[in-house]
């Protein structure tokens, strides 16, 4: 038998651990969870493709790099605001992982606290199971803490995470916590964007109380040299709704991992997504939905549009506990491959312990239909515009799941922008 070889910590991890040793006493809040996270990372390192959950996404390119601490520079950030989608309403701005009240406008009737000020970790994440969260736990400096009071409709709010890797390769680990009281409502647009090479590693903990409704739109437009590792833990009580739509357009390598729990009867979870990638981009959408109560629906439609040598992953796990009778789960993965070198990896996982449930899943992969293209072109529509129309048509039912019109506009505009700058050139017409 071969002895298990202990891997030396990667370049990235060495830097992260050294930073933790240096920062430890200055980081906000209780050091115990941070110490535990550091010990776990020291012991196990960053995830590798040998682990099932990371089979399709290799963090080697992240691990090989040395990330530095962002410098506190109040001038930085102002120019990054141009990267934000044009949308009216209150906004909370983070630059390099730190809250910037000077760039933010607070929402009416909501108290906004910062993690730097409170230092209290939420209890939804499982850093002992998830080393990307552990990395965030170890090094997070700031985040937003929002409690929407019971019965209050907080309207629309943008939460932006901007990172500048222009001068140095930085890593940021914002740590947010959002709680909705009974019957409360919020429409949250979470945006990630930046310039240059960096790692954006946000963690959001979400608690939706009875009858509350959170609409969560995610727009990942990180720079083409960036890494995005975002994790969400959401817990939904009876009659509560967690409605999430995640659009990934950016980053060299990106992963969104969402753990959503249906904890009370008639709670609903929607984890919809679109991943639109070109070049050598890799995008991973990994979800775990836990049905822990009877009579709950969960819905997932995940669409990927891939050009060049891009690769997308959708891993969707649904766990139905014994108590969760009358569960209604639906999961659909559809990919449109615009080039012969693009690739989609799909892995549905259903783990069902209840005996009276309805869970369906499906996957389709295809290219643009030449008949449809010809039909459009024969009506005078130029080839690139015809392709865009068909790509948008493919995305239609994913976008239709976004009930909030303002959010849908943001997503549609982002896709059009992508097409104008990236998609159009990535796919030359077949000769």
């Amino acid at each position: 038998m071969q002895a298990v070889k202990q891997q030396a910590p990667s370049e990235a991890l060495k830097g992260f651990l050294a930073r933790y040793d240096g920062l430890r006493v200055r980081l906000p809040g209780n050091a115990a969870p941070r110490d535990a996270a550091a010990a776990l990372l020291r012991d196990k390192g960053l995830p590798t493709p040998k682990e099932e959950a990371w089979h399709y996404t290799n963090l080697r390119s992240v691990a090989a790099l040395d990330f530095q601490e962002p410098i506190a520079d109040t001038q930085a950030g102002v120019d990054l605001l141009a990267l934000l989608p044009k949308v009216e309403g209150p906004r909370l701005i983070f630059v390099d992982g730190r809250y910037r009240p000077d760039l933010s406008t607070s929402p009416d009737g909501l108290e906004v606290k910062s993690f730097a000020g409170t230092g209290v970790f939420g209890d939804l994440t499982k850093p002992e199971r998830d080393r990307v969260v552990a990395l965030n736990t170890m090094l997070t400096e700031d985040g937003i803490i929002i409690d929407v009071p019971a019965g209050f409709d907080a309207g629309f709010l943008m939460l932006a995470q901007l990172t500048s890797g222009r001068h140095r390769r930085v890593a940021s680990h914002p740590r947010h916590r959002i709680s909705l009281g009974e019957g409360a409502r919020l429409v949250l647009l979470e945006v990630s964007a930046g310039i240059g090479e960096y790692l954006n590693n946000p963690v959001i903990e979400i608690a939706v109380a009875e009858g509350a409704h959170l609409t969560h739109g995610r727009l990942q437009q990180d720079s083409e040299d960036a890494f995005h590792l975002g994790t969400i833990y959401a817990d939904t009580a009876a009659n509560g709704v967690y409605d999430c739509f995640s659009l990934a357009l950016g980053a060299k390598l990106g992963r969104t991992e969402i753990h959503a729990r249906l904890g009370g009867e008639q709670a609903a979870v929607h984890l919809n997504a679109a991943q639109i990638m070109g070049g050598n981009q890799v995008s991973d959408f990994t979800t775990a939905i836990s049905h822990d109560a009877p009579n709950c629906p969960s819905r997932q439609t995940v669409k990927s549009v891939l050009t060049g040598k891009a690769r997308a992953v959708f891993q969707g796990r649904i766990e139905v506990a014994r108590i969760a009778q009358k569960t209604d789960g639906y999961q659909m993965n559809q990919a449109l491959l615009l080039s012969p070198d693009a690739e989609i990896n799909s892995k549905p996982e259903l783990e069902i312990y209840a005996d009276d449930v309805k869970c369906s899943h499906g996957a389709t992969v295809g290219a643009l239909d030449p008949e449809q293209l010809f039909y459009l072109r024969s009506r005078g529509v130029p080839a690139d515009q015809a392709r865009m129309i068909l790509v948008r048509a493919f995305l239609t039912d994913a976008f239709e799941a976004v009930a909030h019109e303002g959010l849908r506009d943001v997503f549609e505009h982002a896709v059009e922008q992508w097409w104008a700058t990236t998609g159009k050139d990535a796919e030359a017409p077949a000769a």
Binding site: P370, E371, Q372, F374, Y375, L376, R377, S378, R379, G380, V381, P382, A383, Q385, A386, I389, L390, R392, A393, F394, L395, T396, D397, A430
Partner: protein
Amino acid sequence: MLEIKGLTAEIDGKQILKGIDLTIPQGEVHAVMGPNGAGKSTLSYVLSGREGYEVTGGTATFFGQDILAMEPEERAAAGIFLAFQYPVELPGVGNANFLRTALNSVRRARGEGELDAVQFLKQARAAVKKLAMSEDMLKRNVNVGFSGGEKKRNEILQMTMLQPKLALLDETDSGLDIDALRIVAEGVNASRGPNFSALVITHYQRLLDYIVPDHVHVLADGRIIRSGGPELAKELEADGYAGIIGEAAEAA
């Protein structure tokens, strides 16, 4: 206006068109009739630029321009319109949006101004009414869930809006009942005038009772074997294709 000389074309190495000579002057409606497999649809696809059809010889010019070298969208802008035998469904694409995008594409290419939503809707509604279509069809996805007759009417609607100089009507009568046939024919007849020509491709004479052609051509085995006036269609209806093909073979 449209001048086809010695046109040969193949699909997957199989020759379908074996030397077509055909001239359609401005303002005339010509019918091409022929048995199944004669190459009628291939002719319309080659003229509109569908992929997969390889032109191996001959020429086709439209107002002196070599259309065979043009992209499908350039041919549309130049004024060629193909009404599909089997109109294509576009799930997720609204019919009104589709029409407006198409119309503004050709207007842009022709150097005309684009129509805004209000101007467009006004035109579209008027055209829909003329074709006895319900306005609901503008809101639905392109051809999705349309009946055979609705699909064909939708083709004629597009034709009416795009105002082509030459319409290629590929078996527009197939799958139509007599009422739909009359409406579609009226739509085509309404477009007739000194600046509109059409090539009506059909298997049956029936459509030509409603769209009366100036000339009729019989296409068999990739060649036009006979041309004549509208009476030729009647003759075909009475005697069938076999007779005419036989005569042509004897004469050859």
